[in-house]
Symmetry: C2
Subunit: 254 residues, 2 copies
DNA sequence: AATCTAGCTTTGTCGGACAAACCGATAAGA
DNA sequence: TCTTATCGGTTTGTCCGACAAAGCTAGATT
């Protein structure tokens, strides 16, 4: 057993980290609200009593974490971390861990089903009209794999949004970012692929309109199974989401 | 339609960002493998032809992103981003977006069910013995809410691990980090709360052993419904995961 | 051979400097 | 009068040089 400690553990965190932590605390605690300015670098230098280089290193940490950003004039302000940016990091992590498409597929199935269930229960009229708008645009590009794939990804984002569950929105994002870019390859490689995709979306939207959960789940399953069948024609589910594919998705995002 | 551009979009990214991007590319592409050294700051200064301050800012970006870390002697090396670290960031984002416990509960229900289904299908003997070990330790501290809550969180992490699905492991982590800290409050506030929790874990482990998916799902549902009932005794599901709670969870993690 | 010590390296921090971009306000032009 | 040009004053991005502390290395000592 440890004897009662005589001294507190002394803090050896480097200064830039302390700067970052201090600012982070203020934002997390709500003392600095999203959108409010943090102050100039010079002001931070004076407040913390450290060098500007040190302040700048701390700022980089927070900037990368999405807690602060620079507005149009490059001044610092607090902000709400965007799911999307963080999800990109996570997707990258998944790549490096060499996850397989099977893992991606299984998890996406779970999350998309949950997503549609939520949407059926709680979609607002605005959500529905966004989905309808997406569907209309999809129907127009049914023969263009690249455009259709992009709209497909958007459709599923909109459905997650319609679920009114932000935790779910966040949870599905990393997998979706890796999952949906393959849609283009699949739609392009399967006869009637585009038509089947739009058809599935149409039934999904219909299910949401009619508040028919069973139909929503059914068509989500079919939709993803279609993806899976298409995918297995061009690659193995058990291959890892490779670096090569990563480069592809990566270049497209830039 | 846009006319064919005469000039390429000129690159205005600041130097530290380019440094970060360049190193990131090497890691993502696998030219630098996790564990391999990046080189000293001085070497990077020479290679990139920029000042050390600039290099250091770039390094901070990557460090925060989890792509590089400093080993025991503070030398830079590439590394696999830890889910846990990234998930912490996501949890923080969820807090700032003021998500409610209802959203957290709903999503966790989905993910934990998926998790147990995977575990029933694919748990290895090692997974099972880890779970058994956790269960044994839990039984010993059934009357100590803090210790039991920690073991509960670990149990669910182990179950996700047993699912052999790393995407799922990652997806459930952010919600779990916010969800499970409340267990302590709940177990402490409900008579027989600890006993019910251990009982549920026992049935879950048993279901995994017998490869009985229905039982696994059933007991996961019961387990989480227990949490929900306990939670509703002390707070409303529709209140946001507040800053005050955040501070609590935050302080405990440090 | 094991240990100690001195020197070299590397990181974390500091101070100061300067060009470029940005802001605000004033002056010049239609 | 409304727009445009100009001109300081700020602020950021980058650079240079410096130094203490901690780690590493290799020779010196026991």
């Amino acid at each position: 057993m440890a004897s009662t400690p005589l001294f507190r553990r002394i803090d050896v965190a480097p200064a830039y980290q302390k700067v970052a932590d201090a600012i982070e605390r203020e934002i997390i605690n709500g003392r600095i609200k999203p959108g409010e300015p943090i102050g100039t670098e010079q002001q931070l230098v004076e407040q913390f009593g450290v060098n500007r280089s040190t302040v700048r290193e701390g700022i980089r940490v927070l900037e990368e974490g999405g807690l602060i950003r620079r507005d149009s004039s490059r001044r610092l302000q607090a902000c709400l971390p965007r799911y999307n940016k963080l999800a990109t990091r996570l997707s990258r992590a998944l790549i490096l861990h060499e996850v397989t498409f099977r893992e991606l597929f299984e998890t996406s199935m779970t999350l998309e089903v949950a997503s549609v269930e939520g949407a059926v229960e709680r979609a607002t009229n605005e959500n529905i009209s966004e989905l309808a708008d997406n569907l209309a645009r999809s129907a127009e590009v049914v023969e263009k794999p690249a455009a259709l794939a992009e709209l497909d990804a958007e459709f599923h984002v909109l459905m997650a949004k319609a679920s009114q569950n932000r935790v779910l929105q966040l949870a599905r994002e990393p997998a979706a970012q890796l999952f949906f870019p393959t849609t283009e390859m699949i739609v392009g490689g399967v006869a009637e692929g585009g038509a089947r995709l739009v058809e599935a979306h149409r039934h999904l939207l219909d299910a949401i309109r009619r508040r028919d959960k069973a139909a929503g789940v059914l068509w989500t399953r079919r939709h993803l199974q279609d993806w899976r069948r298409g995918f297995e024609k061009i690659a193995s589910l058990d291959r890892s989401v490779e670096h090569t594919y990563m480069e592809h998705a990566y270049a497209a995002r830039q």
